[in-house]
Symmetry: C2
Subunit: 605 residues, 2 copies
Amino acid sequence: MAALKQRQDNTALLVLVSTGLALVTILSVWKMKQFKYRLIRETGGAMFYGVLLGLAVRWLPFDWGQHVVNTGETVYACGDLNSTPHMLTVNITPHLHCYGHVGKVNQSCQPVSAPPETFDPKVLFNLFLPTIIFHGAYTLNQKKFIENFGSVLTFAFMGTLISCVTIGACVYGFTRLTVLLGQAADGDFFLTDCLLFGAIISATDPVSVIGLLSELRMDLDLHTLLFGESVLNDAVAIVLTHSITTYSRMESGHSFDTPAFFLSIGYFLGVLAGSFLVGFIFTVITALLTKFTRLCENPLLETVVFFLLSWSSFLSAEASGLSGIVAVLFCGMSQARYTVHNLSSEGRTRTKQLFEAFSFLGEIFIFSNMGYILSTFPHHAFKALFISGAFLSIFISRACNIYPLSLLLNLGRTTKIPRTFQHFMMFAGLRGAVAFSLAARDTSTEVRRTILTTTLLVVGFTIWVLGTAADPMLRCLDIRVGLDADENPEDLSLEVATGRPDTTGGLWHHLDYKYLKPLLTHCGPPLSDSLPRCCGVFARLFGRPHIQEVEEQLCETEPDDSARDTEKTENQLQSTGGDSGSEHQEDLLEGDLGLGTAAALAREA
Amino acid sequence: MAALKQRQDNTALLVLVSTGLALVTILSVWKMKQFKYRLIRETGGAMFYGVLLGLAVRWLPFDWGQHVVNTGETVYACGDLNSTPHMLTVNITPHLHCYGHVGKVNQSCQPVSAPPETFDPKVLFNLFLPTIIFHGAYTLNQKKFIENFGSVLTFAFMGTLISCVTIGACVYGFTRLTVLLGQAADGDFFLTDCLLFGAIISATDPVSVIGLLSELRMDLDLHTLLFGESVLNDAVAIVLTHSITTYSRMESGHSFDTPAFFLSIGYFLGVLAGSFLVGFIFTVITALLTKFTRLCENPLLETVVFFLLSWSSFLSAEASGLSGIVAVLFCGMSQARYTVHNLSSEGRTRTKQLFEAFSFLGEIFIFSNMGYILSTFPHHAFKALFISGAFLSIFISRACNIYPLSLLLNLGRTTKIPRTFQHFMMFAGLRGAVAFSLAARDTSTEVRRTILTTTLLVVGFTIWVLGTAADPMLRCLDIRVGLDADENPEDLSLEVATGRPDTTGGLWHHLDYKYLKPLLTHCGPPLSDSLPRCCGVFARLFGRPHIQEVEEQLCETEPDDSARDTEKTENQLQSTGGDSGSEHQEDLLEGDLGLGTAAALAREA
């Protein structure tokens, strides 16, 4: 019936399908878990169903009423003109060029029938990636993170660099092999292409790692190392991908040159610092807003503003070419450290639950979308040798990354990284959404298409095989799991934040306890004390809370939190002992560059 | 820097801008309200800022890096080829045809520079419209709604029909005038065009009305009438728009014919019933899922599943050409009536808060988007006489709709609709998102563009002027506001739902209390009692809850709810008296077709 057609809403249908997919995933995975069959995780399940859907769509020739622009003069090849759709999406990443008139740019592709798009991955990423990372950071045990910051950074930066080079080398070796075997013309794959692949695939994925960690709640140190690495990775991946692509664009680009190398190190530090700054700026805005206004009288507004501002940190970083992931990581951590104090108790629960629901949904949508693309992307370039090379190199590189670096770090760390942890880290190098998005960014050449295909396969493998095997692995390495360490981590961070002052110095501690906390929250000593005379006005302006009762209300809440903290597992108690918390931070941050001596000092004491 | 460009993410930037817009709206409106200056509402504010942004974008020539496809052979007219964007959206509603190669279909437009799109309205609608309506329905006082159902339906159906015809007639008159004044060629506007405009503009808008009602919490009867009308409107608007467009497509289409008229009445009923069914089916699914599984042990899953299923009701209705709004309305109401019993208490809070946050955000995004389009749509067709005709006709039609119908209804109702209410209803006919989406669906011809422009202006006027004046209006009509009637309406509906059984019959009551409730929830009498012998198996299958403790937990919660209910305003107590609640429903539903005698009977008793 024409009317129905006219009302028929393609978007609605697609959203509906994705929603159905999400529902099926959630319910089936949950059902399996009920039967104590905890092997399958949401991420894996979602990707699996995504693939199924993709295949179904491929093989069942069902008219999705998609408006596909043809190469020819025909304007669009389906749908009745009565229903002029409001928007038409034309995929112009070159592999789909043939759909659009734009197709003419690209020689190497043949017209194909368009598989119906689910979502634009970019939209998915902007919607959900921030919330996933934010939730991870918001509910992170900050003390542990700061303790292990040095190690985390080492793994994230050195480790990723090592894997990148190793993978590049291995894959290059294999491509030479293909040339020797005459399966490919010489010059199909340059070293830079292989390095690019290395850059794309070497970064472990925050989304899948968070998905893994949130389920098997394991030792906090291990948790922190894996989480931190996977998140900070992103900055490294960006820089590597960028620098390599710029090399390969240079004429004499297929060789290594030192200045450019140092340039990109500088660039990396720039990206890291910039992203950190963006994240922190948004925290400051949120904190001041919630401190000096009566927002906390309206939990709904409070939550929404908090949500939007945290989200913006990601978006602004992305929009200005920095790492949104890193930005939102720092934003989440600082929000949990400062802003939380200014929220009403209902606001705290609401924000946490909102982000929880969002990130849960996001994980599922992103991975089902990835699975869908894996099975519907019309220009897969399967290069058996390249793929097998990739798979091999991933394990080699991971090994060259974890074991030597742990060895190195253990020299500095007093809480050594035990062998079992190393094995598990070696094992838990899940790839996922970020690698995919990097690979999907450009698929103009055969090489790039090969890279995309291989990336998707690697992601699928790590998610399905490694992700599934993680649980038994942990058991056979007998690493303790199921610790309710991050059951209510805001309280944790709160607890750390509100630890009684200790007078011994410490740069970070000074900054945090004496200036930032009084400035951004209602806790800590009055600014007027910490600031020099000259800044009296400033101190009076920001130091004294404008709203008396709010301050009281907040100062009431804190004891409860620390009270609640006392009823925690031995493990957690260990990780959150009142002052020692702040002591550590300070020690480690002036002392051992966060290589982990602090914890030991504490234990000796 | 090339790298930055490459990372630069158009989507992120646009989302960021919208987020900023939302933040500005929320904060400024909230600040104003703090100063007891409650005239401006979120909807109005959002639209206003949207317009501002649009103007800024129009006048500040800032390169948004938008990928615009040209009419010529140039493939795309901006962006560096290095950064191949993953998707390119080409707006192919004819007014933008000139962007795309598709442009060649349409003669009547000149190449224009593309204003940067914020969001595809369709996406916004599919994302947020359902949550807004759902939240409205979920927190609706069901008893009142059922009491007033007859009146609501009369206003929604007859009323909208009357306005449509009146508006059509008025506007047609004005267009004839333009012809006489020689400002337009004869045959520019046919009667059907004017009727179409009538159909588009005559429906009041749920989003803006809900926005209005949620703030000034007024008398429940008035609330129900306005809300119900605005929501059920949608079905009527769809049917009218459809039937008129089909007429106008006919050769001899510019005249009225009876069979087609009755056909569309049938179609209307079909749409209504179909949408109702879809909504109810999804409730049944949710209810059975939450009743027979251990979902309620995991509040997060519970919430997410509940959310996705409710959302799907809208999407499936839309995808199958029915009224998603009506579907989600009934879904929301029945969820609040049945499923809520199966949720854990945390699940209840979470679902409510999730929908609350979502609909709050949605309102703002939708209206800022509308404002943005109002100021950036490049093909506005301002026809002074048409517009003034439209404005005049809107008031006339609203008057011809409310006063006669209220008069008519008051004959049947024992709780008359007082004059003051009528005045306010006459006044509160806000138009908004739905009208806009109907008008934007097709803008191929000059006429359609005129309609879109006029619609946008009318929407702006009703939102800004009427929406702002509502508060003083209520005061001078002295209608009581600020009743905390729907503070915790789930409890309300719960209370109604768990009212002690009364043995007197009543079709609706029978169905609801004896079959649906035991089937879908853990409350009410065992199915085995209500069902005949033959259905013993069925009764055993669905009647007996599989999970004992869950049932207990739930049966515990109910007394609390009713207990909480006892501490309510006089108004609320009146509207929720234990049995009488169910008695009314039954009386009115078998008795007076819900014209409102029930309430009176109760008062007499």
